[in-house]
């Protein structure tokens, strides 16, 4: 039976709660209601109010208490109702959670996964559309994940909950119930280790490196470019930290052209980081300047005309692809 993205994550949470009796879930409205999007449905009924906590609207308390629970032997899934709200718990994440292992010279490890719905293209406006992963990529000690398929979401979530490192898990909410990407999920205890990019389409003329929702925009752009005889490779990095540089470099060695696509604003975004690393380690492979297609350096506005104007689009990606090929 085909399952959607949301169901895949829900299954991962249920399986890990079952498998790990020391796992706790905490978040706003995750118990009685089952979460704003229903990702945590059924968890509290099955595992009780002790292990599935309906938290007050207090992101700092949610993250801070998750740190304490982990310190005292638990694994914690902490939900941000929208990933935008993570800023309210920022200090606890970057100064407390992320640095704990480092500060204690490895004595304490943090089994905390912070997950939440993220991304634009849904008319969510400024505070329900963000991709703010760059804030955390700039804070050493946090692993960052952003899957684009149901099976990846499940395998990566299960790995995250066993990793004993802080993990930030960006769930593209536009994909939650997208039937077009629903798929059969692998049987059994399916786990995907971090740091392994996935080549979603093979090509020889240029490489799109992307993650999350933009994977589909890049695939569509590759279709359009193919009509003009341009063969684009599409790499879904799946995890930003750690980043699978090897797969990207191998691709660039073949295609000699790079376009990085993501939803976050351009300046100091993760696309820039990928470009910088490839410029450093793969400069001799490049036949054209590496390009970025990102959100403009603006917030995400509400009206559809505005939102689509500032976010990456298939058209913008195709144009960037043509630019590197014609350079």
């Amino acid at each position: 039976m085909k399952k959607n993205f949301l169901t895949a994550i829900k299954e991962a949470l249920h399986e890990e709660m079952e498998h790990n009796g020391d796992m706790i879930c905490i978040g706003e409205d995750i118990g009685l209601l089952g979460g704003a999007f229903g990702v945590t449905e059924g968890l509290q009924e099955r595992y009780g109010t002790g292990r599935v906590i309906d938290a007050p609207i207090s992101e700092a308390a949610i993250v801070g208490s998750a740190v304490g629970m982990s310190l005292n032997g638990k694994t914690v899934m902490a939900e941000m109702q929208f990933i935008d709200f993570i800023s309210c718990g920022f200090d606890q994440i970057v100064n407390n959670l992320a640095t704990y292992h480092y500060r204690t010279a490895g004595d304490v490890d943090m089994g905390v996964v912070i997950r939440g719905p993220a991304g634009g293209y849904g008319g969510g406006a400024l505070y329900h559309s963000q991709m703010n992963e760059a804030w955390f990529a700039n804070s050493p000690g946090i692993k960052i994940v952003c899957p684009s398929t149901p099976s990846d979401a499940k395998g990566l979530m299960k790995y995250a909950l066993r990793d004993r490192n802080p993990v930030l898990f960006y769930e593209v909410k536009q994909l939650y119930r997208d039937n077009a990407i629903a798929e059969e999920l692998p049987e059994g205890d399916y786990v995907i280790e971090f740091g392994q990019a996935s080549i979603r389409r093979e090509g020889s003329d240029l490489t799109f490196v992307t993650y999350g929702q933009n994977v589909y925009h890049c695939l569509k752009a590759a279709d359009l470019l193919a009509e003009e005889g341009v063969k684009a490779e599409v790499i879904d990095i799946r995890t930003l930290v750690p980043l699978d540089e090897e797969t990207i470099l191998k691709s660039i060695a073949k295609t000699n052209r790079l376009v990085v696509v993501n939803e976050a604003p351009m300046t100091c975004g993760f696309a820039g980081e990928i470009v910088a690393r490839i410029a450093d380690k793969g400069f001799e492979y490049l036949d054209a300047p590496p390009l970025r297609v990102t959100r403009l350096d603006t917030p995400v506005p509400w009206a559809k005309t505005l939102e689509l104007h500032v976010l990456p689009s298939v058209e913008k990606i195709v144009a960037a692809g043509k630019r590197v090929v014609r350079f």
């Binding site: 706790i24 007050p56 801070g64 304490g68 629970m69 310190l71 407390n96 004595d107 304490v108 000690g141």
Partner: protein
Amino acid sequence: MRYNLGSFPNARNLGERNLTAKNGSATATRAKASDEPDQLPRDLLTREEYLELFRQLYLARYFDVRLIKEKKKGRLTGTLYSSHNQEAVLVGSLFGLRPNDWISPIHRDMPAFFMKDLRSGWDNPDRMGMTIEEVCAQVWCKAGSPGRARDNWSHIGKKAKHIIHSTSMLAGTIPVAAGVAYADKLDGGDTVVVTYNGEGSTAQGVFHEAINFAAVHKLAVVTIIENNQWAYGTPTHLGYPLEDYARRADGYGIPGFIADGQDVFDVYDKVMQAVAWGRSGKGPSIVECKTFRAYGHGDHDDDRAAKYRPPHEVEEGRARDPIAIAKKVLLEKGYISESESTLYQAEGKSAGQTTDEDFPPEVVAYLKRGVDYALKSPAPAAEEGERWVFRV
């Protein structure tokens, strides 16, 4: 504990008792409020325990004095946050804890790291506290520190000894304490978590978020507010509109105690009541300890502190030395003789005015052990700077 928990007065009633500290001159009356339990926790202490509390005050003071002197000689790196004149808060709050209870000290609580569970024996290797050697290695910025000198001063902890690690973000350990207590409660435990905070940190949002969460889940978190009248360079009236910080408890429906922070026995009484409240499953509480910061915020600030703190205020604030107050109690109880009371005269003296003769020899020897270890401990290897970002 056999004493009667009584019914808990709210902070308002406590505030009506004459326990407020204005300009540091806390004048605690021992007048018994009608809602105070008949028997106080201290009434169950033996003579030996009174004497041990007294001895621990000297230990905390000597640690501080020694560090101030070392810093002045240029032998320490970083900033030193003195706990001088605030020792009763630490000693009185730590003394009655069970070995397995958790604590989270902050910058001005450095002695707490090695004074936790000191009651199980100063030299007991199984004691649930850090050793004096570990703490000194941290102060000397050496690899022998529990954190291998990765973060400075009080930013250490030890999971195995139930000591939570702090950051520079004030009140930031209270949610962690709540999480520790939550996990413990879920597992059927009855340990209590005691967090230490300056009065200034109570204005942080996370202070509210964490105590609110703890109150909702009735978690055994005791939030001690060390009200030393100054948040760095800002006086209390610019930090909170009310006189008594214990009244912050009102908003959560939890007990808010006020202790005379200069009186180790009063701190012990109030914290033990708060601890018993938490351990019995009734939830969190706040204990405000009225005290006075003897020096600047940090030693870098000692000279500039004169700019914002009038000298007469400092003089008044330091007049009620916790060692002198405890000594008087021991004399009154006949636990020490007049001649014994004059053996060690650390009270009322600034760090520079004291000599080792002002402290019991076992206290001096204890610290020497720590310092000797620290001096022998190497600096961490440079490569360690990039280790332990992630667990591998």
